[in-house]
Each structure stands twice: as C-alpha cells, then as structure tokens.
C-alpha cells in the first residue's frame, strides 16, 4: 500500500506513531523491540486517568484500583531538544 493512497489523517497518525515508537524504542533489548513495534496503533495517545479503561480490570471482591500517578515516563520527553 502506498502512503499517497491513504487518507491524509491516517497517514499523519501512522507517521506520528512511528515517531513515538522510534523515540521510545531505541535502547530496548532486541526481543522487546519486536513486541513494542507490534503493539496497537494508539501509542501516540497520552495515558491519562480518564482514558484508561480501569473497568475492564478484574479484581477479587472488595478490592478497588485507582490511578495513583500518571504521565510517568510519558511520551512528552520525545519532543525534548537534544
């Protein structure tokens, strides 16, 4: 599939994902690289309390899970000037 045939928005999302992945993945061990690059396309999303589907987690009766800290090691460092 050629990039030119993709809708502009899709192409942008794909490009953005590559930027994020190349920034985060450069020093990982090689076996993990395969895994990271195989992950879903939404790596560019910023993880925040509201966007994580905590209701999908299964906990034993009586237990509860919340976000204690977010944005730890987030993608924001990728834009940092070197």
């Amino acid at each position: 599939m050629k990039m030119a045939q993709l809708p502009l928005k899709t192409a942008f999302v794909v490009l953005f994902s590559f930027l994020i992945l190349s920034c985060n993945g450069k020093k990982e061990k090689s076996e993990e690289n395969q895994n990271e690059t195989a992950q879903e396309d939404n790596s560019g999303d910023t993880a925040t309390e509201s966007s994580l589907p905590l209701d999908r987690l299964n906990l034993p009766e009586g237990f509860k899970i919340d976000i204690y800290a977010d944005g730890i090691g987030g993608n924001s460092v990728c834009g940092h000037p070197k």
Partner: protein
Amino acid sequence: MQMVLEGTLFVGTRNENKVYALKDTNGDFKVDDIHVIADDLEQPANDLEQPNGIAFKDGALYVAAVSKLYKFSNIEQSLENPPAPELIYDDYPTEFHHGWKYIAFGPDDKLYVPVGAPCNICDRTDEDERFGTITRMDPDGSNREIVAYGVRNTVGFTWHPDTDELWFTDNNRDMMGDDLPPGELNRISEAGQHFGYPFCHAGTIPDPEFGSQRPCSDFVPPVQQLGAHVAALGVKFDTGSMFPDEYKGHAFLAEHGSWNRSKKIGYRVTLVKLDGNNAVSYEPFIDGWLDDETQEEFGRPVDLLFLEDGSLLISDDEANVIYRVTYGG
C-alpha cells in the same frame, strides 16, 4: 519502572532514561508533585542508560544503569535541583541484552545487583563469571560476591518477611514454543546456589542445546513454575494491614506479559499462596489489561510496592501510570 518508597516514591525507567521522584503532598493518594532526578537528555555526562534499577539507603538514592552505579546523597533535600551523582562503579558488564537492572538493599545492608545472561540462551561465564548471576556488595561498591548462579534475567526480587531469604522471579528462555519453558519464582536458601540456566529451565526442562552437559538434579528448582513467557518481574509479600488475612505473607507477582507466543499471556498481577516455603496455589489477582479476544492490551505491570497503609502500588510501563489497589473502605 522499579519503585522505591522513602517518604518520596522514586521510579526508575527503562525506556525514558529518567528517574522520577513523586510526592503525594496532601495525602489524597494521588501524586501531585513530580521531579525528574536524572535525565540523560539533560545530563549527557551521566550516561544514564536504562536507569531502571533504584535503591535507597541512609538518605541516598542509588541508581543502576547497565554497567554503572550512581549515588545521589541526601536526595530528598535536593529534589528541585539534584547535584551530580557520585559514581560508585563502572565496571559491570556493558551488554544491553538483559542489561536493565532491578536492584535492592537486603536486610544484611548489602546492595543486590543482578547481571542478566547477555543472550537468549548461551554460556558465556568463562568470559565473565557474573553473567547470569545475582551479585551483592557493600554500599560503597566493595566486597562484591556472587550469591546466585544460573539466573537468566531477574527483574524483581524481595526478602521474605519471616525468613529474610531472598525470593526472585526469573524470565526463562524463548524459542522453545508457546508453552515451554515455565517462568520461575525462586528462593535462595544459601549463597552460591545454582538455579539451572542455561542447562535446565524451571527445575524440570533440560535445555535442547546445553541440557546434556548437566542434569536438572544439579540445580535448585523453583518454588513455583509460572506461565511460559509471562515475564514475571516485580515480586512482593503482603505484610500490611489492609488486605484480608487470606493474603498475608503470600507472594504477589507483576507479569509484564509475553512477546514470544502465538497467543499473549501475562499482562496481569498473580498471587502465589505459600505454606512455609512451598507454593500451594498460583492464580490471577488482577487481570484484564489484555483483551484475550482482540489480543490488544492497555497496560503492562512491571513492579509492585506496598504502601504503609497496606495498599498495593503497581507500575505500568505501557500506560505510563502507577495504580493503587485498596481493599474495603
């Protein structure tokens, strides 16, 4: 994303080359104050590559990169503007493969530093006897010794609250199929024990290449065989007062999740219940980060830490968050 709590919660990272200091200044169990202690983008001279391993002692934060160990003295007094760290050593193996560290001080006041095998499966101990071991040393880097051999890659360990013995997870080899070999939860009952790698995996599986050299009976078997490729990392015992009694003294494991398997497994926190030093069950405590049907996940647990109130923190290096698990209330 190893976590250490000492008034401040410190978090080491593997991918971001940063160490964070987090504070909950108003006691609402939400971090509201974040400092970056070490950042190789801003301090290239520090050469902090994969500073995942962190430990705290006598006011100082120790940060282990692949081959180096740094010490930030009186760190909590200088979170705003941390001084350049002191280099404790720079002569650990430099291999990046399995080079990211988990470190911790033991009840013997020694710093424990593992050295992963620099490969999926190999025996390079004639090059450097530290490959595939757990080492320990005094806080100043002296009096080093090897306390466990045959450890492929441990990224999580702790000490049993009653026995003070070291328990550690180990990630076993890849490319032996979906269901082999199992992962390991191990216990060191005396210094110098050998846990099998690369000859025998999980106490029962001879390696196809190295297995003929030494039998499995030569080695210490795991307390519990874990799922194959689940990538168990952090391990902690519940000693707190929040969770029900049925969880007391049992081992919680953070399973980062598989990469080398046709159907993903792990991506969960599991519980190994114990009777003394023997495991009696191995079951999920929290799952659901992975959607089994779509095979997509929204998070990957890395490390565990119990807060003083008995609640459990879980770090996640995919969602870039730390969760807190509570009971009741």
